[in-house]
Amino acid sequence: MTWRRPWTLLRRLFLLRAQEDRDLDDELAFHVAEETRLRLERGASPEDAARAAHLAFGSITLAKETTRGVWVSGAMERLLQDLRFGFRIVSSAPVLLLSAVTLVALVIGGNTTVYSIAHAIMSKPAPGVRADNLTTVSWVRDDGFVEPETTYANYLDLAAQSQSLGPMLAYQYVRVALGHENGSYGIWAAAVSTNYFQTLEVPIALGRSFTENESQSATSGLVVVISDRAWREYFASASSAIGAAVIVNGQPATIIGVAAPDFRGTQLAPSVDAWVPFVPFTRAAGGSQPSARGMEDNLPLVGNFVGVLAQLRGDASLAQARAELTTLWERLQTQYALVPQDRSVTILPYAATAGGNSPISTQGTTFLAIFSVITILTLMIVCANVANLLLGRATVRQRELALRQSLGASRTRIVRMLLAEGLVIAVLACVAAYVFARWMSSIVADLVAPMVPPAVLQVITEPDWTVAGYSLTLALASMAFFTLAPAARVWKQPLLPWLKAGEQGVARGRSRLSSGLVVLQLALAVLLITSAGLASRSITLFATTDLGFDSRSILLATVNTGGGAVDQSTSAALLERLRTRLQSVPGIEHVSYSWSGARGSVRTETLRSGAAGESAVAATNYVGPDYLRVYGVTPVSGRELGVEAGRTITPAVVTQQLAERLWPDHPAIGRRLFFGQQREREAEVVGVAPDVLFNGNRPTGNLYVLLPSSSGLRDPGERTLYVRYQGRLDVVAPAIGRAIRTEDPRVPLVRLRTFDAELEADLWPVRALAMLLTTFALMSLIVAILGQYAVVAFDMRRRTREFGVRIALGASSHQILTAVLREGFRLTVLGLVIGFGLSVLTGTGLSRALYGITPTDPLTYGTVLLLLSLVSLTACSVPAVRASRVNPISTLRQE
């Protein structure tokens, strides 16, 4: 029996309803007709009979309403009926419906996108991690600074003693060179405790995970688990990869397993490609016994510290575990002098970004708070706009509602009807918002794709039901807001004035509040568009700057010297050998190398020309021989740097502008150059280079000092070779890879790209920002313009009668048109003035970030002026045209 009820309910609602409505109409009409007939038979005149019959019956509408009320008995049935009715009313005003839905969808969709990305980044685990009760252990310094790491010895003690935490793992990221017979690769690796994969519940797709005894003995050789990506790309998915001999940072090792395809480490970045057991790896890399107590000081800093994750036991709470760890930690502090005394321990639920000093994890709550405020503010603005739209309509409908009420519709009935209309808008807006949000997040994903690791992309594009719920809640809350105001008005409105007065007679005057709100929104839109415009102009100029050299035909080859060198001097020698080898490759003209890459941060230092001489802040770089030749420039005077080993005083090359700054009107060659405020180091100028933007366009401009790389030795790691070539790139590029392999097969070529590509990547964050600004600007423009439309249209409706009178008194439709346009344009002008004022202020504040243009760039401002005027004119012209077409006769007859 139960299945029949929903069916009959639906049938009644959608199929039979129209028929039942007609039947009821007929039935009541028959009643009145019959009554009339009776009265006619009794001798009344036809008119009197009909009138009396109607009077005797009372309100037909009320009878219908109550009878229909009998049909629908359940609350669900009533709700559906209200919705149907609401939809019918709302869809009779499609423009209004469309504007309201667009407004709500834009703002809620936009907010949902940001929220979903923030939520994804801040609270989700890294892809592939299957354990669901993981926690992050971290340490808090007295000043509140959170440290994500502790020593391996501390980790071992905590892991052995804790009862409330289950398996506890340790990890440490390290950049390694992974070499095997087919080549050598620079990748991210993690040195981990052997229970790593079991604790995370990450399955091993092929081979096996680490065993307990691999945590200690280094005698059996290093074992490695590689990622699915590394397996596919370096080993062509061959099952023979298991057991293959490889070289990890110069140490022989064996591959024992391949991790599950989606797993690339416990954090979103870096994306790990290989895992090695912590102790054997650290020992092989030159550390002493990392687990021994009292050895912390002797260990290299990088080789010693680990991040810690642990599973919470099923019966333990987070607070219990925290209390227990604190006790254990305090015991360690009294037991060992080397355990830091100014740190306390804490644990947090695990997320891919939790723990650590990334801005996301340390400022996550601040970010969320700011974001919530922005959400609420924008939502309020939009609600005000929608309320304005609905209020405009409510005024027109005030009389209709008064009529309904006087015909017997109860107040609750009318309020329910209004709420149903709001609900229809909210439901439609919610669907639109969700679609829009999905679309937005795919756009954002595309936008950030070149910048972030694949794990981040995967996390932010996964569908998220929490977020769907969030958008639904926002939509419903806004619905309540923008329908309750008109509904409350209905509740207490007196009926009589509405029934007596003409259609527009009693409408209240225009609201200063809503006009002010529109001006504010327009100003905000102007500010955003101007900022976006300034940013885009700035980028265009930045990208087309003359760098002072020909950046085409330069290749950048990054290698990891860790594959073939064990200390600073062998690393430097290896780099020089690679340079010489590359120089002999056909098609390659000059080769050099430098400390800082073509992009990325340059190191700046304060330079002095003498004890009391001039000073300047310039970029310092340690470079290999032929550096200037690779850039295709020759020294203005003096010479360029060579190998320069074994000199008593460091030679230096400065750019022309720096030379003029430090020694105005004097030749720079042979002068002494001092580094640092205290003149800690000195160098002798041996050459002056032309003004070249060696590292692309940056704030330091072309103030550069170049020093020989032999005076700034560094540990083995990633270095970039600069190669000027001629001829075809597709011939030269493979030759570079071959030459490096010939020189030392253990040295991986990590990246090979053109100088131009590197410069382009440098511009990416600015481009993304400009794009984001443009998107927000356009969205805010749409919101503001719809708001303006709502206010002007409302005003026009309210004054329909006035326009009718004016036209009747001889005003031309042209005059009416300009009158309404002038009203609307007043808002635009105010918005523009305030917006431009704000833009100049913001622009001045941001002028350091703007390249090549002033904060008052006339072209940008002109474009914004034109754009806003045009769009605003369009928005106002719809109601203006309607006003000019008012028919005076029909308007006045309504009275």
């Binding site: 009643h31 019959e34 009998v70």
Partner: protein
Amino acid sequence: MPRARQQRVELLQGTLDLLILRTLQWGPQHGHGISVAIRSSSQDVLQIDHGSLYPALHRLERQGWVNAEWKTTENKQRAKYYRLTAAGRRQVQTERDRWTRLTEAIARVLDPA
């Protein structure tokens, strides 16, 4: 007219159903006919409020005590005729019994023996 109006009595809550069902015991009838029948058999004392007659009819139909069909009247007009069902017939008896008990009880209160 004023005198007649003074003599009219508001229907007690819940009695309309009984009156409708009782009227339909004489045979199928449309809404207007029912209201006329009640008025005349009560000698114009009971005036049916049409705003509640039709909801009541539709409610009785939904409860299964009456069913309805469209028929043509003697004046060749289409009208909806209501007819008692078997359940409706039983319901008349139940409602009558309840009414009798109620009036007897009220009478006892008004004139204690």
